[in-house]
Symmetry: C2
DNA sequence: TTTAAATGCAACACTGCTGCCGCAGTTACG
DNA sequence: CGTAACTGCGGCAGCAGTGTTGCATTTAAA
C-alpha cells in the first residue's frame, strides 16, 4: 500500500472516532468530511460501514490493551496502575461512549486486563466490590463522565488531573461496605 | 379524546421507552410493533418522530420530578432522600441512557431538584465534590449501570437493593478528598 | 342502536444513507 | 520521467425510514 493511502486510512479512523463519539449514527459522508476526504475514498479503504466500525473497534482495543500493558497492570501497585491506565487513556482521547456502545465492545484481552486490575485492587483491600462486571461498568462509565468534564470543573481542578479524579471516584464507588475509613493495609487511622 | 385512543397513546409511550432504551435509533415501525399497533396509529398520535420523543422526555421528566418530590429532597435527611429517590426511580424502570442521551435531557425542575439534593449532601458532609454537574453526571451514570446489573450480581445482593447499591456507590465516588473516614458530623471515629 | 371516532391496511412520495462505478486529475515511487 | 496507484467528482441504483392519504373495519360512547 502506498504511503498516502495509509495516511488516508489513519485519517479516516481518526475522523470516525471523533465524529461517532458525538453522534453514533453519523453518516460516512460526515466522517469523510471530517477526514478531508471524499466519501468514495472511505468506501475504497473499508468495504462497508460495518468494516469501518470493526476496524475502529479493533484499533481502540489495541490502544486499551497497550495502555494496560504500559501501566503494568499485573505487577505494579494496583492503585498506581489504575491511575496510570487512566492517564494514558485520557492522553489518547479515546472516546468511550462510542466503543462501549458498539456490540463488539471490548476484546477478551482488554476485558481480562481490567478484571485483573480490579481483582488486585480488591485483594489489596482498596475496594470491596466483588463483581468484575460491576467494577468494569463503574470504571468505564465514570471514565466517560470524567472525559466529558470541562477543563475548569472545580472537582477536576481539585483532583489535579482527570486520571486522579477518576481514580478517586472509582475507588470510592467500589469501596462499598465495611468500615468506611479502613483499608486492609490501614496505618493512618489517627492522622 | 376517546378512552381507547388514550390507552393507545400510553402504550406507544411505553413501547417507545422500552424499545429506545435498547436501541436509540429504533424505527417507528419497531415501536408500533412493540405497542401492538400499526405504524400509522403512531403517526396519528404524534405528528413526527421528534414529537414522540418530546412527549416521552416530558413524561419521564414528570416522573423524575414526582420522584424527587415524593422523596422530600428539600427536607428529608439527604442520604435517605437519595436512596428514596433511587428506589422510586428503579421501581418506575425509567430508562436513563435513553433520556440522558437525548438533547433535551432533564427539565430545569429535575435539574434543580438533583442539584439541591447534592448540595444538601455536601452541606451535611456526606460528599466533598463541589461541582453540581459532576455530581449529577456521576449519579445518573451510575444509575444506568446499576439498572443494567443482573438480579443476581454479587454486589447487588450484598447491598440488598439497587437503590442501596447506587446510594453507596454515589456517595463513595463523590467523597473525594480529605480524611477518608470522617464526615462533618463525625462522632464515631473510635468505634 | 346509532354515530362519530379510532384503528388496520395498503399504498404513495420523499428523504437520507449506502454501496458501487467510471472518468479525469493528482501523487507517490521506481 | 514514466507508470501505477490514489484521489476527487459525479452519478447511479437500492434500501430503510418517515410522513401522508384513502378506505374498509372495528369500537367507544351518546
Amino acid at each position: 500500500m502506498r504511503a498516502d493511502a495509509e495516511r488516508s486510512t489513519a485519517r479516516i479512523l481518526e475522523a470516525a472516532e471523533a465524529v461517532l463519539a458525538v453522534h453514533a449514527g453519523a453518516s460516512l459522508e460526515r466522517i469523510a468530511d471530517e477526514a478531508g476526504l471524499a466519501r468514495a475514498t472511505v468506501h475504497r479503504r473499508f468495504a462497508s460501514r460495518q468494516a469501518l466500525l470493526d476496524a475502529l473497534v479493533e484499533q481502540l482495543n489495541q490502544r486499551y490493551a497497550r495502555a494496560l500493558e504500559q501501566a503494568r497492570v499485573a505487577t505494579a501497585p494496583p492503585v498506581a496502575a489504575l491511575e496510570h491506565v487512566s492517564e494514558i487513556v485520557f492522553e489518547l482521547k479515546i472516546t468511550h461512549p462510542f466503543v462501549i456502545g458498539l456490540d463488539a465492545e471490548q476484546s477478551p484481552e482488554v476485558r481480562a486486563g481490567i478484571e485483573l486490575l480490579f481483582a488486585r485492587l480488591r485483594h489489596a483491600g482498596e475496594i470491596t466490590a466483588s463483581g468484575s462486571d460491576w467494577c468494569r461498568a463503574v470504571y468505564l462509565s465514570l471514565m466517560t463522565e470524567v472525559h466529558l468534564l470541562p477543563d475548569d470543573a472545580p472537582d477536576l481542578v481539585a483532583a489535579g488531573s482527570r486520571a486522579a479524579l477518576l481514580t478517586k471516584a472509582v475507588l470510592g464507588a467500589l469501596r462499598l461496605a465495611g468500615p468506611p475509613c479502613s483499608t486492609r493495609n490501614d496505618d493512618r487511622h489517627s492522622g
